[in-house]
Symmetry: C2
Amino acid sequence: MNKPANQPKTDAAAITPRSQDYGQWYLDVVKKGSLAEHSPVRGCMVIRPHGYAIWEKMQRELDDRFKATGHENAYFPLFIPLSFLAQEEKHASGFAKECAVITHHRLKAIDGAIVPDPASKLEEPLVVRPTSETIIWAQYKNWIKSYRDLPLLINQWANVVRWEMRTRLFLRTAEFLWQEGHTAHATEAEALEETSKMLEVYADFAENIMAVPVVKGHKTEGERFAGALDTLCIEGMMQDGKALQMGTSHYLGQNFSKGADVKFQNKAGQLEYVYATSWGVSTRLIGALIMTHSDDNGLVLPPRLAPIQVVIVPIYKSDEERARTVAEAKAVAAELKAKGVAVKIDDREGMMPGAKYYEWEGKGVPLRIEIGPKDLEKGSLCIARRFLIEKPGETPDELKRRRKVFLPRAEAIASIVPTLDAMQKELLERARAMRAARTRVIDTIEEYEKFFKGEGGGFAWVHWAGDAAQEEEMAKRFETSIRCIPFPDQIPAEAGGEGKCILTGKPSKSRVLMSKSY
Amino acid sequence: MNKPANQPKTDAAAITPRSQDYGQWYLDVVKKGSLAEHSPVRGCMVIRPHGYAIWEKMQRELDDRFKATGHENAYFPLFIPLSFLAQEEKHASGFAKECAVITHHRLKAIDGAIVPDPASKLEEPLVVRPTSETIIWAQYKNWIKSYRDLPLLINQWANVVRWEMRTRLFLRTAEFLWQEGHTAHATEAEALEETSKMLEVYADFAENIMAVPVVKGHKTEGERFAGALDTLCIEGMMQDGKALQMGTSHYLGQNFSKGADVKFQNKAGQLEYVYATSWGVSTRLIGALIMTHSDDNGLVLPPRLAPIQVVIVPIYKSDEERARTVAEAKAVAAELKAKGVAVKIDDREGMMPGAKYYEWEGKGVPLRIEIGPKDLEKGSLCIARRFLIEKPGETPDELKRRRKVFLPRAEAIASIVPTLDAMQKELLERARAMRAARTRVIDTIEEYEKFFKGEGGGFAWVHWAGDAAQEEEMAKRFETSIRCIPFPDQIPAEAGGEGKCILTGKPSKSRVLMSKSY
């Protein structure tokens, strides 16, 4: 028999239960799923093949949506001259404290040690891009002359670096992968429309592809992107009740076009500064995915982002049984591939079926098909689901019976696509139910304290009319912040209307979303 | 009527003829095609949307081939600690002179100027990856324990930086985009097989997708990748007769596994160092594409890499004609899209059809369909080809008639896919003919001098038995180098057999390929 097929290695150590230590659980899921790990370079992560395959699926879905809304991809330099960053004052001060700075362009052996060659010192240091507004707008100056050149709708897939001292895989790393859209418009109205449109693209992706429900709104002034006039965001709730900012879309007004002196001739023949937006999501989304859906057995993936949707495990005791079950596995795989299902056969030798089940569970594969000699005799297939939402009043035995079903072959194969679709919906429903269970409409600071200190917290809809110092007071007392000032349609009916600020008692027109966060 | 659709801007300045100034012609083609431009950051280019779309097509084709040969994608850090680079001596000295070095992680305003904060100086400087062998093998140490973990077949799509003083768009830039495969094997034989296999993948891609014929062979010792035991390469010929190295595949032996101390337990239970390969192609391929096929009207693209394969231009004088021709353009576009053709309708207003033709020609779109009111009446379509290979004895009039044809609508639509396929083949044939016309089997240094100094040069098949100093002599006298020691099947029949070194007269078993090069 052949050598086992090459497989990414999986760490088989047990996962710390969520109830015991949520932070450790997260790291264990990342490890068991072979998603990522720390590198010897401070703050930089290595994205392992299974983690990168999820990112590729995300990229494809997002890129299709960007192109469908008229955007094109391009690529701009990794390095930004120091003087560029300084063009927009708030932008510079916002990023100055976390920049990787390049000062030399050559190494040299001096006294046996390799060091930066003093003779290669750059006249002007370069910064590794923490975001690309300034370098991109310097180029837009050459591309935009007239209203006919607008709108300019460009996106870039790239790596960026923001020096971080405290890092956490996917959620906060010094280097991360992202996309950044940078658009230029003739009018404020059109730029604002773009800002909203791209937030809707992110929200649609979060809910329908990631199966993570989100609240859409504006960031407060203090939480805005450095240099933006308005920052829109989507906020998801993780299983520990904390919020995670999943994507932002910024209206930049004329701040960057003024910094780079980008004017266009409008239809009336006058010169005007261009209006700008920028918007981005990053590999942080993989962290959101993990913390929304996964369980104490490891990663759970929504089928639409699963690099492998179905794994087929042939079960055998003899070479003869192996030949027959592997042949059937290949036949089933071919039928599923023809339906567009991403399928993998795990016929590695020298490994017990149970160890394989355990590994693929940890990698979040939604469905497993087991094929043994008895299944061949009966003409049936055994299908096991990675997860199942408990029905009200269901006993553990009933749940178990639903989780693993034996179906006649044709029926089994026909059931795969509808089952994957159903699982995608169930994950979103479960995430919605989890969020609903941890969301409160709160009107007094006592209730607020009880919710965040006694009940574990979650999303709180509260009236707010405080200032920046009072926001900080809330952060100190409860570790919470205003996640967003929601769009009106995001506020649940029972939380609508005017009221009084939870802290100051001042009148408030509408509620905000408060929560602990990542 | 509506505002013109957003389009990347095109510079309409005329292109310098190739015969006049090949270097300027190249820059003009890049500019007219809106492919790329220099940025304010020394040596770094901006890849514009049309150039990036070509890179995306290349990536998709290559990535499919990598995955079909069992490779997975992953992502490793942008930064490499100085000490890692130093692990492999030749590797370090090979890249030390062109490294961007990061020495600080924070900026600070001192006396009103923003400078690297002296307090943020790194204990150990970091280098922006010029290639990733060392950082990847540091990680492989955690992943490889036993022969069961091998082979490990990983690829990375990334940006890399090699500081360059003299840059040329796509061909030589400080930052460029590439893919780098890094594989680990249990035996030398398996690693050598991988090295060859990936070179074949590159050669297949070059010939069948890029339509660029290549010569496959080994680099000489002096031209090897820093740290490799053998470097395989593919060499294409550009229209000016110079060679361009288009891809390399390296057998690294145990150099990097020893540097990073990566051992595995073999089947006999003994510890052994792992065998390694690495292989890569970059955005340089876009330069090769331009210099092989383009003409004095601008970019020429093989249909399989054209982001837009067919552009449809409606022609009209009145609003009523516009409505009818645009409607027909949409109907034709829908039929072509259903056949898998990448089609674009150019219905921009305020622009003459001729200006549109000129722009799309410059962008290398293979086919143009013109739809005017007369075509609607006749039920026909006018199809114009971006290029046509002249037939022997054909008059300019005959050529022109073949270039632009009027066909009944159904016949025209049915002809598009076969025409694109034919154009793909014609480009490869034309490139083969061009290469054949500039290739010589040369046996004396006088002939050699005549070829390279009098006849413009090209590929020379010569016997060689010189040493490194003599190679340098050839470089000084003729600006030529050994492009490769070809695989035996790459040598044309008329150049086969043994002979005497063209410079030293010493006996030689087989010929090498000499040429000027980029």
